[in-house]
């Protein structure tokens, strides 16, 4: 790939990126969230069309107009969220959209036979191709996806955070398979945030930063510090604004809270404190937040605010008690995209008298929050759909700030937000903390958790495995607890 450029509207996501993959190479693609990794891979797989630049396969310039083109050239991607249909059988999934047939009549036996062969290629000969994929673990499902890609003669395999949901043993199995594929000449693009994996597994690394190509280096002889330097381009201190606040009284006390996903979680949260919640995907962090906010029903345990037990069986009660919840997926859960900024911001509590909206107060309040949070928009009447990711995230924050919550739960508050927007969101968090708001911040970005938290609660498979002081915690100690501590 040479000189790839891509912009979405006014937002430039890729600004002249080069990328090269050799046969039999495991090539790490790294960069912070929002650096442009996934967009680059989407260009490569024909999901997005590049505005400029060219793609060559085997030295021939090709056009990647659609995912079908990518498939034709043997390029396959294994997404973080697997693309399997849970209730269909393994065979049906492997052949989805390209079923062997004569005039629409399926060749079931031939497909089952070939499914077995494909599964054997990835060391999964023991599984029954007639079972629905939902019956298999995430790790096994990933193997099934890889088998599917290989069955379609993929020569380039893109893996996006493949180990995020895997246990250690499953990760080992995956790595063994990747090494085997490499020896057979498959080129693998490995997208991951996990430094250790990169150094163990990959031959070469390419780094993107803010849509620019920073460089490619062979892994042997490269140090961790050099990689971080390439990714961040500056020291960590500059990314996270400092905060001089001493946490006050205990505000929220959670005792033995649990349901079927979350087991006996206890912690205190002080006014003016940020408690980070770290853990791998599926560790139960979002589930914990949902329990606190009354979206799921706790089966045991209790929650105290100011020493008084509170009952948050529904979001309405949680909001009334003084809680706010900035959800992980702002488009699906945080915003009503067709409604305006004003209507979204005031949604939890529309300024009104006797049910009649007080439009003047609503506008004043919205204007104040737009200025306070530096939301860049020319009009508060614009639908939030029209805003950039960072500004949308600020609208979600504004929505809760309007309520002046005492406890604010933030789930991945900077996901999909660019570096500049992140710094602004960190400043907003610091400002809130200064005003005595207690913050529970779930984040998968370790540097963010380490820099922004006072203490860090680490979760693993629904259990709290550690409560660390952020001042002394390191990426390693957090990861150790997040992977179950062995």
């Amino acid at each position: 790939m040479r000189g790839i450029r891509k912009a979405f509207g006014p937002v430039k996501v890729l600004e002249g990126v080069d990328f090269e993959l050799l046969p039999g190479e495991v090539h790490a693609l790294m960069g912070e969230n929002g650096a442009g990794k996934s967009t680059l891979m989407k260009v490569l797989t024909g999901v997005h069309k590049a505005d400029a630049g060219e793609i060559e396969v085997d030295g021939q310039t090709v056009s990647m107009g659609s995912t079908t083109d990518a498939e034709k050239h043997g390029i396959a991607i294994i997404h973080q969220e697997l693309n399997l249909i849970p209730h269909l059988s393994v065979t049906e999934n492997l052949f989805l959209g390209r079923e062997l047939n004569t005039l629409g009549l399926l060749h079931r036996r031939a497909m089952r036979q070939r499914a077995r062969e494909w599964l054997a290629h990835v060391g999964m000969q023991s599984i029954d191709p007639d079972l629905p994929v939902a019956r298999f673990s995430i790790g096994q499902q990933q193997m099934i996806e890889i088998a599917k890609a290989l069955g379609q003669n993929a020569r380039v395999l893109i893996m996006d955070e493949p180990t995020a949901a895997l246990s250690e043993r499953e990760t080992d199995t995956l790595f063994a398979l990747i090494r085997e594929l490499r020896s057979k000449g498959t080129g693998i693009v490995y997208v991951s945030h996990r430094m250790e994996e990169i150094f163990v597994l990959c031959d070469r690394i390419s780094v993107l930063r803010d849509g620019h190509f920073v460089g490619s280096r062979p892994i042997p002889g490269l140090s961790l510090d050099e990689v971080v330097q390439m990714m961040v381009g500056r020291s960590l201190e500059a990314r996270f604004p400092t905060r001089e606040v001493t946490p006050g009284e205990i505000l929220l006390k959670v005792e033995q809270l649990g349901d079927k996903h979350v087991h006996d979680i206890s912690f205190d949260l002080r006014a003016g404190e940020v408690l980070g919640v770290a853990g791998l995907m599926g560790a139960g962090r979002t589930e914990l937040a949902r329990l606190l906010f009354g979206l799921d029903k706790a089966t045991h345990g209790r929650v105290l605010l100011d020493g008084q037990p509170i009952h948050t069986r529904t979001p309405v009660q949680a909001i009334h008690a003084g809680l706010g919840f900035v959800t992980e997926d702002r488009k699906a859960q945080g915003l009503v995209l067709d409604l305006s900024l004003r209507e979204n911001i005031s949604l939890p509590r529309v300024p009104s008298r006797a049910g009649i909206i007080d439009r003047a107060t609503e506008k004043r309040q919205t204007q104040g929050l737009i200025e306070q949070l530096k939301i860049r928009t020319r009009d508060m009447e614009l639908p939030v759909r029209a805003l950039s990711g960072g500004n949308q995230q600020k609208v979600v924050l504004a929505k809760w700030l309007a309520l002046k919550p005492r406890v604010l739960i933030l789930d991945e508050p900077t996901r999909g937000v660019d570096v500049g927007g992140k710094a602004e969101i960190y400043q907003i968090i610091n400002q809130l903390v200064k005003n005595g708001v207690a913050i529970l911040m779930i984040s998968s970005e370790l540097p963010e958790v380490l820099a922004m938290s006072d203490r860090i609660l680490v979760m693993h498979e629904g259990h709290a495995t550690a409560l660390l002081d952020a001042a002394t915690a390191t990426q390693e100690t957090v990861m150790l607890a997040a992977t179950g501590g062995h």
Partner: protein, 314 residues
């Protein structure tokens, strides 16, 4: 920096005004094509015909905006009309009869709301069920016979005029339109209707009482259907068991023609009024032009399809 209408931007404004432009074009075309079209008598007659559909369609707009659908409106109209007539036929006064009709409509709507909220039944299925059930109840209550009404003050409701000119149903239609438009744009309830239809999960997380809102919108739809049923019974001096057949589809057509998204969350009440008028004037115009009623349906169907296709292209 804020404009008075929350249209968002020019493109959205144009999209919204599509139905209005369509209506104006239709009016101009009919005025040119038929000399009988453009006179006060004819126009007021059309408005009176439109009023029943419009009343139902206003309630339907709330339901559709909130992400639902209500197929039971025609059946509620027939059942509540029959009950209202029945109460009077058994010797009770007009006010009790109207109160019973409206109360029953509200209750039936709330039952729809309970089915789709706490019952978690898909709105299409829930209201299909209550529609069928109410049709049966209406037939057994009336034994298939019309129930006549001989109360003269009741007859004024649907058959009277203001200043010997404007039919009362037209007054009801515009009155209810103004009330509902305010409810939708000026109150917290209306705001929550948009939020619910736009993104139910985000609304729930923002503390919108989802289940109560659903009772509210289906209840309103039931109430307005009952009101339409009472006005219709009054105008016809009798309640018919089969009254309102197919009205649910006319109401949905008016809502969609008006530019409200069937997926919920986007739309406006004025569009529904325009949509109902479009259908009414189209019927009237085709009648005046002597088009056979068979072809009228073809034209009506084609207009709906074209309108929705144009809407999708933007």
């Amino acid at each position: 920096m804020t404009n008075r209408f929350s249209f968002g931007n020019g493109a959205a404004l144009l999209q919204r005004l599509g139905s209005v432009i369509g209506l104006l074009l239709l009016l101009i075309a009919l005025s040119v094509l038929s000399p009988d079209f453009l006179n006060a008598g004819n126009l007021l007659t059309v408005l009176r015909q439109v009023s029943i559909n419009a009343l139902i369609a206003f309630g339907m707009t709330f339901v559709i905006l909130a992400g639902g659908i209500d197929l039971s409106v025609g059946a509620i109209l027939a059942f509540t009309g029959a009950i209202t007539a029945g109460v009077m036929a058994s010797g009770h006064g007009m006010l009790l009869a109207i109160g019973a009709g409206l109360g029953l409509g509200l209750l039936l709507g709330v039952i729809n709301g309970v089915l789709v909220s706490w019952g978690r039944v898909a709105p299409f299925i829930a209201t299909l069920g209550t529609m069928t059930l109410l049709r049966g109840l209406t037939l057994s209550y009336t034994q298939g016979q019309p129930i006549g009404v001989s109360n003269n003050s009741f007859a004024l409701l649907g058959d009277g005029y203001i200043a010997h000119l404007i039919p009362n149903p037209v007054v009801w239609m515009f009155g209810v339109f103004l009330l509902c438009a305010f409810l939708l744009r000026g109150t917290v309830f209306g705001r929550h209707v948009f939020a619910l239809g736009g993104n139910e999960e985000a609304a729930r997380l923002s503390g919108v009482r989802i289940n109560a809102m659903k009772l509210g919108v289906y209840g309103l739809s039931g109430l307005l259907s009952a009101f339409a049923g009472i006005v219709l019974t009054s105008r016809l001096y009798s309640a018919q068991a089969t009254a309102g057949s197919g009205y649910e589809l006319d109401a949905i057509a008016a809502v969609v023609l008006g530019g409200t998204s069937l997926a919920g969350g986007r739309g406006w009440l004025f569009g529904t009024l325009v949509g109902a008028l479009l259908i009414g004037f189209l019927n009237n115009g085709l009648n005046l032009l002597g088009v056979s009623s068979f072809y009228q349906q073809v034209v009506k169907g084609a207009v709906i399809l074209i309108a929705v296709l144009l809407d999708r292209r933007k």
